[in-house]
Every structure is written in C-alpha cells, then in structure tokens.
C-alpha cells in the first residue's frame, strides 16, 4: 500500500528528470531504515512506471545500510533503529544515512 504511493512518486520524479527522453533504466538506493520493502516497491514500480508513460524501464535496486553517529564520536552501521553504540553502549546518536529511498540515477536514450 505504502510502496505504491512511493512508486508513483518515483515515477513522477523520473519523468520530470528525463524531460521527455526515453528512460531505459533507473537505479534506486533503498535505505535499511526507509520503511520500504524492496520487492514490494519493484512490483508497484512495474505498475506505476507504465502508468506515468514510462514503458520497458529496467529497475536496479541497491541496499543502503543505515549509518549512525554516536555522541561519543563512534560511527557504526546497523539495520535496526534500536542499535546501541557498540563502543559506549549509549543511545545518544543520530542517523546519518539509511532512512531514505533515493533515486540515484537514470539512464535515458537521447535518440
């Protein structure tokens, strides 16, 4: 359900970026804490891309690990929101990356 909304947003963003050129491939970076189930997103993209007039687009997805920065300066990765700092065992940390679902690049045919 949620992934369909995200797929429609991605299709609109890709269409906007391509400015009329034929899109051959899109590459997505799916953060471990993005709340996106990759297989579900792929399935909905196969609906949402043609709905936006983008047919036969190859979809590549990359898993992006979540990176945390602790107040003790330790930087660490985890796929859990609740991961404590491995160095100081504390929770005074910020999430540096891994919360987003990114459109990294698109490939277009200029002809």
């Amino acid at each position: 359900m949620h992934e369909y909304s995200v797929a429609c947003e991605i299709a609109a963003l890709v269409k906007h970026t391509a400015r009329g050129a034929r899109v051959i491939k899109i590459t997505l970076g799916v953060g471990a804490l993005s709340g996106i189930f990759t297989e579900s997103l792929r399935m909905y993209l196969e609906l949402a891309l043609p709905e936006a007039g983008l047919d036969n687009v190859a979809i590549e997805t990359k898993d992006v690990p979540a990176t945390f920065l602790c107040s003790c300066t330790e930087q660490y990765t985890s796929d859990k929101f609740t991961a404590a700092c491995p160095k100081c065992s504390g929770y005074q940390r910020t999430i540096v990356s891994g919360q987003d679902c990114m459109v990294e690049s698109i490939e277009v045919d200029d002809d």
Partner: protein, 218 residues
Amino acid sequence: MTEKIRVAKNAHALNDLVAQQNRRLFKDAGIAVVNIISSPGSGKTSILEALGKRMGHSLLVITGDIQTQLDKERLEAAGALAIQIETRGSCHLTANMIHSVVKHQSLSGVKLLVIENVGNLVCPSSYDLGEDDKIAVLSVAEGDEKPIKYPSLFIRAAAVIINKIDLLPYVTFDVSRAESDIRKLNARAEIFRVSCTSGQGIGDLASYFDRLTSAVQA
C-alpha cells in the same frame, strides 16, 4: 545514444519541494506548525479538543481522515478553527494536500497550526508536510511495546504523548518500559503523560505548545 543522469534525490523529492513552500508560507505567517501522528483511536482529536478549549481561534487544525467531517465538527465545537481533509483511502497526508487547503485559509490570528494526520503508525512519518516538528501519540490501551515495534515515527518525534493514562489500572501497560524504549530510539524527545478524561497532564502539554508558538514569534 544512452546517457546516464545522476539524480541523487529522495523518492519524496517532489513532495518535499511542496513541503518547503508550505514551510515558507507558515514562516511568513509567523505560526508554529506540528504534525501529530498516531494509530487510529489513540486520542489525537481529544487532545486537540482540550487544546482548542484553551486556545480558541488561535489554534487551526487540519485534520485528515479516510472519510467524514466528524473531527472538524468536534474541533470547531471545542472552539478551534478546523479544516477537514478526506483522503478517500490514502493512508497519509501529503504536502500537496496541505498546500491545497492552506492557500484558501486566512492565517490571521492563528498562532499554532496542528496537522492531525490520518490515523496510522507507519506511512505518515515519512512525509514532510512543512511542519516544524512531528509529535507522536501513544495510548496505553495500545500496548507498551508499540514504540519498539513501530520505530519510524518515534525516532522522528520531537515529543511523545502517552495518552489515556487514567486507564492504567485496567491495562497491562508498563509506562517505564515504554519511556525507556522511546529514549533508546530518540534520546531528545520530550515525553508527556496525559489523560483527556481526567485532564491530567493537559496543562504541561499546553505549556509545551505555548513554548513552540513563543519560539516562532520571538
């Protein structure tokens, strides 16, 4: 010839553009804006009714539901200004939905805008609507493990309201466990214990919103 174009944009990039427009509009109007998110039935509207009784028309609520105008009617009866968005099935509000109703609304005299999101502990937390802060509500009838099971909201919330604490004698909800889990997810969140039935904690919550509006107008 094929060409690779680097995009490096969040999937929500188009939503985020509109959210920034909303943020500018709210800043120009000098109002504080919060996006209040919870599962259905946690008591968001009851909390806002209590706030509306204190704030009157200086409180504007944009309230989202799948259907009905019931929340708008309740909030107006409590004294607040209210706009209802019926999403007709969509499980979250988007920046566009907010933009489309705000542009028709006079913000004169409004100090605080509360966007009461569609009742849903998952999707709404990933959409920026142009708010200053997200606020989570959790009622004790839902269970103390909800923050750890549904972390995406609690990790982003500036404040967490634990509601319906008058029901604590009747439910197995360990407040200290819930608060400890919230702290593990989000060490900075302010936590409020509230009952809209008894009125307990409402004063502290009203003071929190006063601080938000004062900070914007300072």
